[in-house]
Symmetry: C2
Subunit: 378 residues, 2 copies
Amino acid sequence: MSSPDPISPSETPVGSIGVAPEGTVVIAIDAMGGDHGPRVTVPGTAEALKRDGSGRLRFLLHGDEALIAPELAKCPELKAVATIVHTDQSVAMDEKPAQALRRRTTSLFMAISSVKSGAAHAVVSAGNTGALMALSKMILKMITEDLERPPIACSWPNAKGGMGTVLDVGANVTSDANQLIEFAVMGTAFHRAVRGKDKPTVGLLNVGSEDVKGHEEVREAHRILREGVDGINYYGFVEGDDIGKGTVDVVVTDGFTGNIALKTAEGTAKFVKNLFKDALTSSLLSKLGALLAAPALRAMAKTVDPGAANGGPLLGLNGIVVKSHGGAEAWAYSNAVSVAISLAASAYATDIRKALAYVRKAHVASPETPQMADEKVS
Amino acid sequence: MSSPDPISPSETPVGSIGVAPEGTVVIAIDAMGGDHGPRVTVPGTAEALKRDGSGRLRFLLHGDEALIAPELAKCPELKAVATIVHTDQSVAMDEKPAQALRRRTTSLFMAISSVKSGAAHAVVSAGNTGALMALSKMILKMITEDLERPPIACSWPNAKGGMGTVLDVGANVTSDANQLIEFAVMGTAFHRAVRGKDKPTVGLLNVGSEDVKGHEEVREAHRILREGVDGINYYGFVEGDDIGKGTVDVVVTDGFTGNIALKTAEGTAKFVKNLFKDALTSSLLSKLGALLAAPALRAMAKTVDPGAANGGPLLGLNGIVVKSHGGAEAWAYSNAVSVAISLAASAYATDIRKALAYVRKAHVASPETPQMADEKVS
């Protein structure tokens, strides 16, 4: 990755919006990000505000005032607590991250910078993932140094009727034992903040549950976690089908496997839904049946709507960054904003920093530490 | 893995059943394998025989005559072409592979040995996977030496209405570029034999479609496959959701990722099916709707029934070995037997041997060959 000179806060254009007032929770919105821009980001933010109802929320809407203002006029409750931070620049969905890094007056750059400066507690963007990742890393910096990129966590509906957390789903293509343990720490802090469970259980994704299964990295991480890592409620190895069963709250894996598991599950859910749809429209009789069952089917559809799980945090940064799907509509976008609110309003920021510092001191070996011998399956 | 002395054919107890007669296709059945034994393996085999209708099939049913004979009496068509090879020994579902390797008169050992001796063209077992793998490797040997275990291929229903092939789904937890290319060769030979498509397309599973995506092993395999490997119709990188879409016929990945993708998909399909089921029984009105749509739903259910895809071959061996799910019922078991019949009746055995020899000579580098430099994503 090419790295331009790090920017100093004085160079950023956020001075004018000051520091978040005491007692408020301020969310910076990259209003231009995503396939639909302010048409989705503004009403989506308004919906999240309505759901929160704490009265503490404030929003910084970064982007083109001419496009944001008309949308904001339709959302008077949001308008009362929002400030438009105007810029006519934005990062294109297909823009190279290296180029985005150099353009400091884009809505994305300014939105992230407002977290760095203390004007906002969290930032949400539905924009270019590569640019979001590169800019977040450059502006906010990682808490922990040995990750190339911030891992992304995703929320995954399960048979227990709740949402599990799976990470990393796409940032780091290889992960050693230390990184897997750091993911466990980050996933625990995220799940606690967003799902409100004090001691979420953590499982390590593998091809079987016995100690000897899997490659060296997962077996080494398993050994350390089983011995006990402070603050992690470790369950043990889990398999692919345990994610949907909800066997544990947090599933930890490398970004390669996690990304493929997530996309495979999305593809499978779509495939099965389409088969049902085809079956329910295949004859006059089945169409009538579908009509009678329509209310129940509609209620169910919301459970598996990917929009319900929208809002993947980029973890391990000095600041809260939440990614929304680029194609999200207002309801889905509102869920990403709610994730940012939960993280910003909770003890997450101090939690994750303390836990990572602790785990690094106590458990994360330096590269010189000899690795455990590779056990063979007998 | 502990390795007892290799056995010589003269020591195996299969001499009495001779060599497969000219013009026949002989399938060896481990009749005792699986959760249900002969109660499933015998009628399942009978169903596959009925479906084939070629008149060329013969079966060797390895196991306890006292249990097999009563089941066989109910299947006169099978009885006419089957020979019971009696043994009262069998491998337990939870038996350690190392122990199974030493017991030469089990139904599993004898069934595999009947392929080695030439008495049968293929073997099917629903028994202990670890034991099947260890015994197959010891008795039949691998064609290619640098794989620790035979990769397992699975059949995966897709939105194009057909079955894709995905491998490896669980045997080898790490795979370098050479092994991924060998999987592509094996998957092509399998798909051609079983799905009847002459030049199946092959995709390499990754986290994105650009050349720079993924870890070193997939990028190196991609580079070689893109340059062209004889006999492989290479499409390029595919992502997790492409499996269900049916973007390519054969999806190649390492055994760790493949196993997790498969189990995640199975878990997701079950989760979504259960949500539909719950919705369709949640009220009197929706129950009535489900009743009207029942014929269509039943037809659909067969498409996603895992039994339709039952029958995973252990590839790269000097002999055809097909694994059935341990819990398979007769219909699912019959599908595993059909896979074995397709492989045995086709040019698969010579195909795969020739293709592997060719690819090893032309493309597979020795361990001394320098690896491509690790490209970083910019």
